[in-house]
């Protein structure tokens, strides 16, 4: 890659006086270049506008109506939004996704940091590939399939109870996803499983980029493990941590596949999350307006959470 760079650079410096002349030329070529630039963007833009932006505008529009999807709609002003902010079911779904953040984001980041900080880099031949492959598997398989795997593991006869019995915690066995007290946490465990490998790899890759000499300097200064961690590792990993947090937070807030295929929001409504509730309101109960309002609030929430985080982690 670098050879190409330098070859190109050589050509460029050689021909730059020609380029300068071209730039200072008449307006004609530049205008048509701008226009043809638009033509290049057009396909992507049209399909994006038609199938992402237009539906988004429709969602905003639907949110101001009461509609069952078939007969004509009745306008209700801000009624749906009011409902979203006051109805216990809708509010609790948002609360659940915030709770899930602990498992989807905080635990994987902490776990990844611990592994990365302790190992730094893997030198053992082969372990690196094995580690990368296995740790990434959760991100590769479809969320729905992951849910099926975990439903089986969390069932009364499943692996989780088996492990508990094996370590002598027989009294703690139960049908995890059917238990009001533990269902949401169990869904959270699935989220941790999803994010842990990803964060570990990302952070390990990030640590590899930190200049070794900084670590040497810290060691020479007599800094212990913890001190090194906070002053060298954490700041050096700032961008990677930001990425982990962003990706996993969006997964937590917008989660659909996992919850839909594992608990459908149950038992009761103890694992209901906005993504599944939007689907249920929109397609099962045919309350399009309310579903759309919830979707808008969810989007706004994601933006409100992600933007500050991006800004915080991106500051250099």
């Amino acid at each position: 890659m670098s050879t190409l760079d330098s070859t190109l650079a050589g050509e460029v410096t050689g021909g730059s006086w020609i380029a300068r002349r071209a730039r200072s030329g008449s307006r004609g070529p530049r205008l048509s270049r701008g226009l043809s630039g638009w033509l290049f963007v057009l396909p992507a833009l049209s399909v994006y506008a038609a199938f992402v932006l237009r539906p988004l505008l429709s969602t905003i529009q639907y949110a101001f109506y009461d509609w069952n999807g078939i007969t004509a709609a009745t306008p209700v002003g801000l009624g749906n939004f009011q409902r979203v902010l006051t109805d216990p079911l809708l509010l609790s779904s948002v609360g659940h996704s915030f709770f899930l953040m602990i498992f989807y984001t905080i635990l994987p980041v902490i776990g990844g940091l611990m592994v990365a900080a302790l190992i730094q880099e893997i030198r053992l031949w082969g372990l690196g590939t094995v580690a990368r492959t296995t740790l990434f598997l959760p991100q590769i398989i479809p969320g729905a399939a992951a849910a099926i795997a975990w439903v089986w593991m969390f069932s009364s006869n499943g692996a989780v109870n088996q492990v508990l019995s094996a370590v002598g915690l027989d009294g703690q066995t139960r049908a995890w996803l059917g238990d009001f007290n533990f269902a949401l946490t169990s869904v959270g465990v699935i989220g941790t499983w999803l994010g842990l490998g990803f964060c570990t790899i990302l952070l390990m890759a990030g640590i590899g980029k930190i200049d070794v000499s900084i670590y040497e300097a810290a060691r020479l200064d007599g800094a212990g493990f913890f001190r090194t961690f906070t002053s060298v590792t954490l700041p050096g990993l700032r961008q990677e941590i930001g990425v982990c947090v962003t990706v996993t937070l969006i997964a937590a807030l917008a989660s659909f596949d996992i919850v839909f295929m594992s608990t459908q929001g149950g038992p009761g409504t103890s694992t209901m999350v906005p993504g599944v509730l939007i689907y249920q309101l929109g397609f099962t109960e045919s309350r399009i307006g309310l579903a759309s309002a919830l979707a808008i609030v969810l989007t706004a929430l994601i933006l409100a959470v992600i933007l500050p985080i991006q800004r915080f982690f991106r500051e250099e």
Binding site: G34, F51, I148
Partner: protein
Amino acid sequence: MQTSVRDRVPGLILLLAAIVFSIFPLVSMLTAALQPQGTIPVGVSWPADPQWHNFVDAWKVADITPLLWSSIILVIGVVPVAALFATMAGYALGQLRVPGSGLLFLLFLFGLTLPREATIIPLYYQIRDMGLLNTRLGLILVLIAAFMPFAVFWMRAHFLTMPKELSEASAIDGATQWQAFTRIQIPLAVPAIASMCLLLFLWTWNTFLQAIVLIDDPSKRTMAGALQNFVGQYSTDVVLLNAGSLLIMAPTIIVFLFFQRHFIKAMIAGAVKG
């Protein structure tokens, strides 16, 4: 890092624990899938007599072949077109002077944080009104559009690293925009395009929500989308259910194992750039 192996043991133990944790559910599915059909397996236990033919049976019972074809068709429909559109747009935003390119870029960027749920309901009605409900074409169009934010961002980031003088030099040579694009820029962009295509393949194959909403016939969905119907129909037999789910996961896992280095690099780079 010059830490001794002994110092790294706690880290290694943690790493091993993470590896086991990541792989455990799949192992659990595998052991369940190998039990005799009709039994209710308990936890993780390697069966005394592994019934490997369960996979063949699950394949037939769940009629996996059309699912496979359907996913392949969807990938062929989505990935090349999405790659082409995104490369063109990325080129324009990264290399050419396009009036309003800042706004355009922000528009695409916004799509990165937009959850699928925000557009899925009107999409249903829109696709239905276009007569494309229950067709693969409808799903293909929706997916291409959904991938634009990331793909355009990715390609733009690549093209920003290309020297501007390159295209200007070719303009002097009399090449048209399009020729400059196809003859010079695309060949240079192949690594970026390739890793992006890997990601697009993965995301198309694993699409779930759009598949179950826009296509009612399970055999026309993605393999992931077919899981919903699959569970409903075969929940009686846990063994077959696990076998079938593993089969449905297998293609992505196999492709991943082949290309794992590129996959991981692509996902990490994509996330970092995002």
